[in-house]
Symmetry: C2
Subunit: 456 residues, 2 copies
């Protein structure tokens, strides 16, 4: 028995002897039994030693050379490569950890309800039917088929008025806003108006991108258009269908007013349609974009319907902004993943998205009802708001309540409500908590509310 | 027969009567036979009329309401919605069209060789084994499992020295460069040095992002480090393994010199490792990053191995730049698609990537040989360069040749070589053509070269 036969144990009675050979050599290299610089026998000699065909040895050497584990030098044969091993190092900052969703955390759908089977089928169909050209560098604004499907979907479900050519497929609302901010800055907008209260992440994101954010108060009819006019900004981000966090709907009169404002100041309205598909006890609220496609940029995503992890969204760009936004998308990443985009087009056209939405809506309504019932029972004095739609509701707390301390105490108990105070740009105003209900069962939610009640 | 029975034709002998009902109602609405505002019968009445269960009608109404085609009003029943139809409009700019790859176009692999079956398996495994938490907002720098696999892959194949925590999964080299440019600008770098000649797209991209590009000449040993020092820039983009377009390798002495330069000026070297996995007749050229992980940012992608359409790449960020680059990625798009990242991790760990690379390398070598043979035969006086690696080669043409006009004439013949002149920042220098050979068969390539020869 040669030394190589001892080093490379092959079982010729089992299939795929070639793979066995690659595996055995790889392991010998990785474990140091074949040290860097070790010269290997010629393919002919090793084949003779091991009693296998020479082609099999040639294949194994090639595979290991492809992996960088062997080096073939002309004239001096094949040697084990000097491979530098990467040593783990600590990252200097906190790495976001993936944990299960804590009860009452707003802004996330039921991740366990992701339609894995239907999505797998859509992806397979996309992969099978893709043209070779679909694997090439494509249109940075998204595969044409998805833009067509999205145009139709947004038309019929959100009453948006956007042709496929006016849509940019994005990696989600974050990217949509980043592209808009880049173009706004390039056109001299330094300030942007935001609803107050509103998502802290939006405020911080726009500030990091270099914009000054200007708060505009929200009342029961939505954002205050008079106050918006007085900001002297020319761009605003709104959530007309379901304001975050209050849950109010922008009143019809104010819709007309905000569009009139945008025309007067030659400005831009950015409509964040973040959870507009979820409405429970009332008519759908059409999006603002359909009323003034030349003035409103609509940003949306599948994050609240399917899953944030897909990183898939859209931006309906008003014609005067379209060319610059397309260029910004091109410069940012030269487009998104084609296969996933084709899979989503398939999922939309086959009705899978509507079916999932219908199921999710029923599920969420049940969950909302459970939270409302538990609140009425355990926190009877709390005023509950924003329950007609969305994935969260708001409870108002008595003046003087420290909602931030309360949210912190809740976090210690494993709950994740948001304090209303942290969502305000201007200090003051009603204290309260934002409670998400989409990601947990009625039973889990009832338990969570009972636990929360003991802290109040 | 009621009017509804006529409008909604159901075939009770076929399965899925519910789907038939939804389809029939949807079509009646879309085609205008049920006009906006039309009141539908109660679910009980329609069920009686059609002889189906009431639950089936309730389901159909819900589906169509989910699609925005029906509106349920409390007290006044269900009516057909006012749906605004999106009208197609012309986009104001040219839309990039998806066409098959033209012969001799550089920079694209054989798209027909995309391993659809193996990729489908990897995606399925990822989808099946994903945790619910994988569908949540995740780490913007990429799923941890992929960063681990990439760290190991880059270590063994490219001799990179980067821990998983030092990697950012990107949407490709374009995004890697966009993130780097943002952080460079934020740190006061206004100027960046580029190899001359080099890709026109890189030069234009960095200019659009707001940087001044400074050319540095390339000779047979790679970029001229003396000239680099004289630019007084503190950042440079290099292609050390296989310079684009000349194909030269950065010589060992110059590797040491460029690292010394980066330490002296407290600067940053950006290594674009764009097709380094393809080497045919010589030892692998390790990447520069492994020699100075604190000074070199390595950008790479799967575009030249698997497909550009996946939009999947990486950025090995030097520790002093890591935190800012992670923040930039977070602000740009809050991370990439989790399922595709998990699928790629699976593909890497299962050896599918190495196997594909091995096959592709063999294929490309054959194709390169075909182009070289055809050139020697049909354009015997052309000097051929850069043939040892990559997906393209360069032919030098006699001084005075108008290579731009030549490339244009070739384009009229359906060929897509690049003129060397268009790749220069500073005018002048050798004239020639860059010929890609990865995406076509030897026979197609031979025909293309013969056609090209008639134009020379």
């Amino acid at each position: 028995m040669s030394v190589w036969e001892a080093l490379v144990e092959l079982d010729r009675t089992r299939p795929r002897v070639g793979d066995q050979l690659v595996g055995a050599l790889r392991e010998a290299i990785t474990r140091g039994r074949l040290a860097p610089g070790t010269r290997l026998p010629s393919t002919r000699d090793l084949a003779l030693d091991l009693g296998v065909s020479r082609g099999l040895v040639v294949g194994a050497y090639e595979q290991l050379a492809a992996e960088g584990r062997l080096v073939s030098r002309r004239g001096s044969g094949t040697v084990v490569a000097e491979v530098v091993t990467a040593l783990p190092r600590q990252r200097g900052e906190a790495v976001e950890r993936r944990t299960a969703v804590a009860p009452l955390r707003p802004g996330v759908p039921d991740l366990g309800a992701f339609p894995r089977t239907a999505w797998r089928r859509a992806y397979e169909t996309a992969l099978t039917s893709a043209l070779d050209a679909d694997f090439d560098y494509g249109d940075a604004t998204g595969v044409p088929r998805l833009r067509s499907e999205l145009s139709a979907y947004l038309g019929r479900v959100r009453a948006a008025l956007v042709p496929p050519e006016g849509l940019i497929v994005t990696a989600g609302v974050t990217q949509g806003l980043a592209l808009l901010a880049r173009v706004l800055l390039a056109r001299g907008h330094r300030r942007i108006a935001l609803e107050d209260p509103g998502p802290a992440a939006l405020r911080d994101h726009l500030r990091r991108l270099g914009m000054e954010v200007v708060p505009v108060p929200v009342d029961e009819d939505g954002v205050d258009i008079g106050a918006l006019s007085r900001t002297r900004t020319r761009a605003v981000v709104l959530t007309p269908a379901h304001q975050f966090p209050t849950g109010v709907v922008l009143a019809p009169g104010r819709r007309a007013d905000v569009i009139a404002w945008s025309r007067r100041v030659d400005g831009l309205v950015i409509e964040d349609d973040y959870d507009a598909e979820y409405r429970y006890d009332r008519e759908p609220v059409a999006c603002l974009q359909g009323l003034a496609p030349d003035r409103v940029a609509l940003v949306g995503s599948v994050s609240k319907v399917l899953a944030p992890g897909l990183r898939l969204g859209w931006l309906a760009a008003p014609p005067p902004w379209l060319t610059d936004l397309c260029a910004a998308k091109h410069d940012a990443d030269n487009g998104g993943p084609a296969l996933q985009q084709l899979a989503f087009a398939e999922f939309l056209s086959g009705g899978g998205y509507d079916r999932h939405l219908r199921r999710a809506r029923r599920l969420h309504r049940e969950r909302r009802d459970a939270v409302v019932a538990a609140l009425r029972r355990h926190v009877p004095r709390a005023r509950i708001g924003g329950i007609a739609a969305g994935l969260h509701l708001v409870i108002e707390l008595p003046p003087g309540t420290d909602d931030v301390a309360l949210a912190e105490r809740a976090a210690e108990e494993g709950l994740a409500p948001l304090a209303l105070s942290t969502l305000r740009i201007r200090k003051g105003g009603t204290r309260g908590l934002v409670l998400g209900y989409a990601a947990h069962t009625p039973h889990e939610l009832t338990t969570a509310v009972r636990k929360l009640a003991t802290l109040l």
